[in-house]
């Protein structure tokens, strides 16, 4: 068994075992492999799982093993997940702002929506659809971005699959 194959198996087992997104950095460090080797292993795994009931999902330098979206309908008898809950108009607007404008502060979200977004942000945070980090340029405020759960909820493989992503995406810089 050569090194790449061996590592590939262990990484597959690790992804299966973890049940959550695993950082690229952790894998690289632990397996003492470089970026190229990691990319190669992940694309091999992706190929293995193409058209299968399980998929490999990459998001912001993490990788996770998940069920393939087209099996969701049949799994719903067995699963009860928050991801299945509907989104209100306020949630949809706020998610759209965050997904297409991330990272974005609460003030910016409020400004675009024209209303206070405190409650809806809290709701989305609890549901795990968005996350907040300290704003790199202002430690008193948070910046919001979407999570892997949001991608999973929509059954996407990556953020770029969002509708008209290239056309409308605008990554704001934090100089407000």
């Amino acid at each position: 068994m050569n090194k790449i194959i061996g590592n590939k198996n262990i990484i597959e087992a690790l992804l299966f075992f973890s049940g959550e997104p695993v950082d690229f950095d952790k894998i690289k460090k632990r397996f003492k492999i470089n970026d190229n080797e990691l990319v190669e292993i992940i694309s091999e795994l992706k190929r293995d799982y193409e058209g299968r009931g399980v998929n490999i999902l990459e998001f912001e330098d993490t990788v996770e093993m998940v069920t393939s979206p087209d099996t969701a309908e049949f799994l719903s008898d067995f699963v009860k997940s928050e991801l299945q809950e509907d989104l209100s108009q306020a949630a949809l607007e706020t998610l759209a702002i965050i997904a297409y404008r991330e990272p974005v502060s609460r003030a910016q979200i409020d400004d675009i929506r024209g209303v206070n977004s405190t409650f809806i942000l809290r709701n989305l945070l609890i549901r795990g659809l968005i996350k907040r980090d300290n704003n790199p340029n202002d430690f008193r405020s948070f910046s919001y971005s979407i999570t892997l759960d949001f991608i999973k909820k929509l059954g996407l493989k990556e953020i770029k699959e969002l509708p008209e992503y290239e056309k409308y995406v605008r990554h704001v810089t934090h100089n407000k």
């Binding site: 049940g19 979206p69 991801l83 998610l95 024209g114 209303v115 509708p163 409308y168």
Partner: protein
């Protein structure tokens, strides 16, 4: 007549001041421009009067948009008056904000379509046989746990929810102001707009009052004349 026309446009639920404005413009199949903003001003105000439940912060947002709309509308109604450059920028800014909101709302609808497919990737449930390794942290002593819980307790369990004050809501009794202004003008107890303004009025209240004035002008209930920019506005029975 115009008033009845407004009510034909059914406004579905809206998410806030910009959403209401957008729905009014879209109901008329208009593009978002300074002109279309000016055209929906009256409707916007009449819709706002019907809103019963709105918290003070949202009300302030509504009022700030109303004030921009009124400035835009005043410019349209009274093209002779010199308008400050800032005000024109304000109008452009409102149009720009509304366009941004329109895009975001449209993208939200597209996200909803994706969501409606019910196509979801699930993570694995935590392993039932998850073997735990007992590995206590150094930094979690009984006192540390106490400290953290005490902080949470004070924030969440004890701190009363600060409810928005009612003051702002009281402020926008547009209908009352219109009635009052009409009455006082009719019976001649005031002759100038400034007579009607109380010294203690906030900027927002002045805006609302000015709005009442515009309404009465439009309905031809009163006449108004202004001598010079920032000059006194003389008002009288039509």
């Amino acid at each position: 007549m115009e008033n009845t026309a407004y009510h034909h446009i059914k406004i579905s639920q809206f998410e806030g001041p910009l959403d209401l404005l957008l729905q009014l413009i879209e109901a008329k199949n208009m593009e978002i421009t300074v002109v279309s903003l000016s055209e929906v001003t009256d409707q916007y105000i009449s819709c706002l009067k019907d809103i019963k439940e709105v918290c003070s912060e949202d009300l302030a947002n509504f009022l700030s948009i109303i004030s921009s709309l009124i400035l835009i509308k005043s410019k349209a109604l009274l093209p002779i008056i010199e308008i400050d450059k800032d005000i024109l920028e304000d109008a452009d800014d409102l149009a720009r904000r509304l366009e941004e909101y329109r895009i975001v709302k449209m993208l939200g609808k597209k996200i909803q379509e994706l969501d409606k497919r019910g196509v979801i990737s699930f993570s694995r449930l935590a392993d039932k046989k998850l073997r735990s390794i007992f590995y206590p942290p150094r930094n979690a002593t009984a006192n540390v746990l106490y400290k953290y819980f005490d902080k949470i307790f004070k924030e969440i369990f004890v701190a009363p929810l600060v409810l928005p004050q009612k003051e702002l809501r009281e402020l926008i009794k547009l209908e009352d102001i219109i009635k009052d202004l009409a009455e006082k003008t009719q019976n001649g107890s005031i002759k100038n707009f400034s007579d009607f303004l109380n010294k203690d009025l906030s900027r927002l209240e002045i805006i609302v009052t000015f709005l009442a004035l515009l309404h009465l002008l439009k309905r031809k209930i009163i006449k108004a004349e202004q001598c010079g920019i920032f000059g006194e506005i003389a008002i009288s029975k039509f």
